[in-house]
Amino acid sequence: MEDPIDYISIASNKPKGARPYFFEDPAVERVMNITMAIGMELAVMRERMDSIERLLDEKGVVSREDINSYTPKNKQIETERQQWHSEYISRILRIIQQEMEQMANPDKTLHEIADDIDKM
């Protein structure tokens, strides 16, 4: 048997040749690539959920109809679910909140703070 190869890092190797960037700012391209990969993983998860639902249906455990027509049965479930959405969105859009906080209370840079601390 060969030495086990590090397939995780090998999988993401770059091909030969400098990579073309299409946006003026490479940061935009970087973010797009990461976002698309996450978008893909969400699709993968969605397909897995679909498999699970169909299997549950086939085996007579829970019908897809039951899942499709499901609505929260009481206030507590409703709250739990809405809270999940709220937290999820806040997590995804964290940077915008932080930029707003900075706008409201302009903060010193860490260089400035370091200089301050040097005098403390």
């Binding site: 060969e2 397939y7 893909m40 699709a43």
Partner: protein, 394 residues
Amino acid sequence: MAKNLPPTYDKIAKHDVFPETTHDERARYNFLANLNKHLAHVSQGNATAFKNRVQPKFMEEKGRDFENKDELGDAMAKDQHYQTWSALRRCTMEMRQQAGRSLTYRQAAELKEKVNKLNQGKDSLKLNDEVKVPPYLMAVDNHLMPGSYHTELFEGDVSNAANYDGGLFVTTAGLLGRYSDGGGKAMADWMKANNPDFKPKRILDIGCGIGHNTLPIAKMYPDAEVIGIDTGRPMLSYGHARAMSLGYENVKFVQAEASKLPFEDESFDWIQTTMFLHETGGVSIYNIMKEIHRCLKPNGITMHIEQPQYTDDMSMYEKWIRDWDAYNNSEPYWSKMHDIDPIDLLEKSGFDREQFMQIGAQAINDLDDGTQKADEPEDHGRSPIWNVFGAWKK
């Protein structure tokens, strides 16, 4: 009902050396095939952007139209839609490679063993350490496949070939059929239909890869000896094992370089290449064609399946957008090859000008259930529509 949905990855034809996939790996490929289809539609916006804003703005500023492709390209590079489409397409290619590599390299050792088992003791696979990978293949990783066709991470590693096998189905969204052999099938059908009296005894497929398009020819002509050559060892080992597993008995896989064919003069009735010439180089292409001429028997035929030809009535924009893959999907010879006149190429290699022929071909797709073609925009470099050219040797 939704139209133009790609087949799910599980529809791909399997064989004994085909890489195993988990549920999520297949789902990832399903996502990528759909994304490829979707981007073919997004690419249509490039023509709109060109016509409605890029060209008018240039004409207004300069008081004239574009003089060449470079000028046009510089202007398009600043267009937001073009930037978005390009970045998404590049990203999709890279994700395809990543997804394929992660699933093949995790089972690299098993793949090697499966291939070895089928290849052991067979003289229909001839590997040769002396054969050098040509410099143009060493210079770049074609279609962003790290390690290209020749790299083995350990002795006998076939992972890249396995990645190519499954991945092609995803990149082409299944349009080449279950065995990704729609090109070879179309070629074999054309030959039989148009030359019913032609009974080739020996057929050579140059740059055969894993033999996707070699096998349909071998099937159509079961009495012929069909030889595929390539410089990529993993491609040949994997391709041979694949052919064995699929029950082919008249195919050989030989490690050889196209501009130094290890065959005698006038020893083949038919010499074929498929999606090969555009991955060679500006000097080599002539040497290769001369070798083809040398090895063909009189009254033998050579045929080449290639990207659609650039025609004079094609607009400058059209030619430019078709070059996208050259620079952004690492197919560097793709656009340069379009400057070569195939008639001239054949004539310089010894063929008669009058023997030149050119046909359009479309993949024969055994997965086509009618949901595939409606309103499909042509996805440059992905669509299964080709130019086929060649000549009889007289």
